[in-house]
C-alpha cells in the first residue's frame, strides 16, 4: 500500500502524503513553473526520476535518491541526426518527422534481474535504454531505423510517440510497447528486434479496408497485469481492448458505461479481470459525456462495467484524465487520478468512492504512487 503520490503537472512536481484514512496533504512543490511530463519511482532502489519539458530549453531529466529532498540533473536522451546529405524523414502524409527530442511519454524500470535498467519512450517515437539508473541513455536503433517507421503517424501530437512500455515479469527480455499511432510492438530479445502485432485491434477512423492494419492502430495506453502477464488492457482511440496472449491478439469491448473513448487505463496487479477507465465523449470532443465526470470499472474481464462517481464533482465537470493521469498502488488497494482542470482524487476502496485532494492544481500530466 502506498502513502505517497507524485504528481507531474504543467507547473511543477507536487507530492502528496497520506496522514490517515482519506486524508492526504501536500508537501512543497519542486520544479515550480516547469512542465513535468513524466514521473517514475523505481521500486528496486527507491530512486525517483522526473522528465521536465522546459518550453524553451528542451527536455531535462532529474533524479532523487532521497524521496525528493534533493534532485540532480542527468543527461537526457538524444535523437540521432539525419546523416549529412540525406533528406529529412517525412511521414506517410508528407510531414517532416522531427529528429530532436520533443517530450518524454514513458519512463519505466526494467526487470528485477536488471537492477539499473530503465526504459524511456519519447516523442518523436523513439525508445531509449539506460543501464545506469538514467545517468546515460542508448537509442534502441532497431526500432528507430525500422523500415516501417515512415508509416507511423502522430496521434494527438505532431509526431508519433511511445507512451506505454510493458516488461514481462517472467522474462525481462520480453517487452511490449504501444505507439500513437503505430500499434503494439513486441520484442523477445531485449529490444534487439521488433515485430508489430495486434490482431483484432480495430481503427474505425482508418480508410475502408485498413481498419485492422496493425500500424493504423492508436492505442492511447496499454497496461499489463503483474500477476497474470498474458492479460493486457488497452484504452484505444475508439474502444477498449483486452488481450490474453501477451498482446499478440485483442478482443474489443464495445460497451463500457457512458463511452469507450478515453486515455487512461489501469489493471489490478493481482486480479487481471479488474480494470479501470476514465471515459470521455469521443475524439472530436474529449470531455466527459454530458459533462458528468465518472470512472468505469470492470471486475469480470470486460463483460460488465460499474460507473463510479461517488466523491467526484457534480455536472458540469469537464475534467479529462490524460493517459498517465491514473495510477493504482502496487497492492491494488488504492487509486489516484488527476485531471486537465487541476483536480486530484484518491480512492481507497477500488473506486467505489473518491476523496478530492485538490480542485485547483495546474493541469495534471502524470500521477504515480511513490
Amino acid at each position: 500500500m502506498s502513502d505517497r503520490l507524485l504528481i507531474g503537472t504543467k507547473k511543477g512536481l507536487f507530492t502528496v502524503q497520506r496522514s490517515g484514512p482519506g486524508r492526504w496533504a501536500f508537501g512543497p512543490p519542486a520544479f515550480p513553473g516547469v512542465p513535468v511530463s513524466m514521473v517514475c519511482r523505481d521500486p528496486r532502489d527507491g530512486g525517483e526520476l522526473v522528465a521536465l519539458n522546459h518550453g524553451h530549453f528542451g527536455v531535462k531529466f532529474h533524479r532523487s535518491d532521497d524521496r525528493g529532498a534533493n534532485w540532480r540533473e542527468l543527461a537526457a536522451p538524444a535523437c540521432p541526426p539525419v546523416p549529412a546529405g540525406e533528406p529529412p524523414i517525412v511521414d506517410m502524409i508528407g510531414r517532416t518527422i522531427p529528429q530532436t527530442l520533443k517530450d518524454v511519454w514513458a519512463l519505466v524500470p526494467g526487470g528485477k534481474d536488471q537492477p539499473r535498467r530503465l526504459w524511456c519512450g519519447t516523442i518523436p517515437g523513439a525508445l531509449f535504454r539506460s543501464d545506469d539508473g538514467g545517468a546515460s541513455w542508448t537509442l534502441v536503433e532497431s526500432l528507430w531505423h525500422h523500415p516501417t517507421r515512415k508509416l507511423w503517424m502522430g496521434g494527438g501530437a505532431d509526431a508519433p510517440g511511445i507512451h506505454s512500455i510493458c516488461v514481462d515479469p517472467r522474462d525481462s527480455r520480453k517487452l511490449s510497447i504501444a505507439i500513437s499511432c503505430a500499434g503494439i510492438w513486441h520484442s523477445s530479445d531485449d529490444g534487439a528486434t521488433w515485430e508489430a502485432a495486434c490482431a483484432g485491434m480495430r481503427a474505425e477512423y482508418a480508410p475502408p479496408g485498413q481498419e485492422f492494419e496493425p500500424l493504423a492502430q492508436d492505442p492511447h495506453q496499454m497496461v499489463r497485469c503483474a500477476s497474470g502477464p498474458d492479460r493486457m488492457w488497452v484504452q484505444h482511440h475508439n474502444g477498449i481492448f483486452r488481450s490474453d496472449d501477451a498482446g499478440r491478439s485483442w478482443s474489443e469491448i464495445k460497451q463500457a458505461g457512458p463511452s469507450c473513448f478515453g486515455f487512461a487505463v489501469v489493471v489490478h496487479p493481482k486480479h487481471k479481470d479488474s480494470a479501470w477507465f476514465v471515459p470521455a465523449k469521443k475524439d472530436e470532443f474529449r470531455f466527459p459525456v454530458d459533462g458528468k465526470f465518472v470512472v468505469t470499472r470492470t471486475r469480470d474481464g470486460g463483460k460488465s462495467f460499474d460507473v463510479l462517481s461517488k466523491g467526484l464533482p457534480e455536472a458540469p465537470a469537464y475534467d479529462l484524465v490524460y493517459r498517465h493521469g491514473l495510477d493504482i498502488s502496487q497492492d491494488g488497494e488504492r487509486l489516484a487520478m488527476g485531471s486537465t482542470t487541476g483536480g486530484l482524487w484518491v480512492s481507497e476502496n477500488g473506486g467505489d468512492s473518491w476523496v478530492g485532494v485538490s480542485a485547483h492544481l495546474p493541469p495534471v500530466l502524470c500521477v504515480r504512487f511513490g
Binding site: G55, H56, F57, G58, K60, E73, A76, P81, T100, L101
Partner: protein, 88 residues
C-alpha cells in the same frame, strides 16, 4: 573581449552570469560560456548542436535571423541569449 549575457529565465535553471569571452564567432563565444557552465549547453542548443527552436540570440542588438552560429562577433560585441517570446 565580447561579452555574453544570458536571460534571467535561463539563470533560473542554470547559474550563468554575464561573462567576457575570447571569441570571434557566436559559437566560440557560447562554447566558452559552456566551458564555465557545462549544463548550460543543453539548455541553449539541441542534441545536434543547433540553437533551440525557442531560443534567440542577439549580437549588438540585432537578432540572428538566420540562426547561424558562425556569425562573427567583434572585440566589443555584446551577445544576448534570451528565450524567444513564442506564443505570448
Amino acid at each position: 573581449m565580447p561579452e555574453v549575457h544570458f536571460a534571467q529565465a535561463l539563470q533560473t535553471h542554470v547559474p550563468c552570469q554575464a561573462q567576457r569571452v575570447a571569441a570571434t564567432t557566436v559559437r566560440a563565444a557560447l562554447d566558452a560560456a559552456f566551458a564555465a557552465a557545462p549544463r548550460l549547453r543543453a539548455y541553449v542548443l539541441d542534441e545536434h548542436g543547433a540553437l533551440r527552436h525557442h531560443v534567440a540570440v542577439f549580437v549588438d542588438g540585432k537578432a540572428l535571423a538566420d540562426r547561424t552560429l558562425a556569425t562573427p562577433v567583434a572585440e566589443h560585441s555584446r551577445i544576448h541569449v534570451i528565450q524567444a517570446l513564442s506564443g505570448g
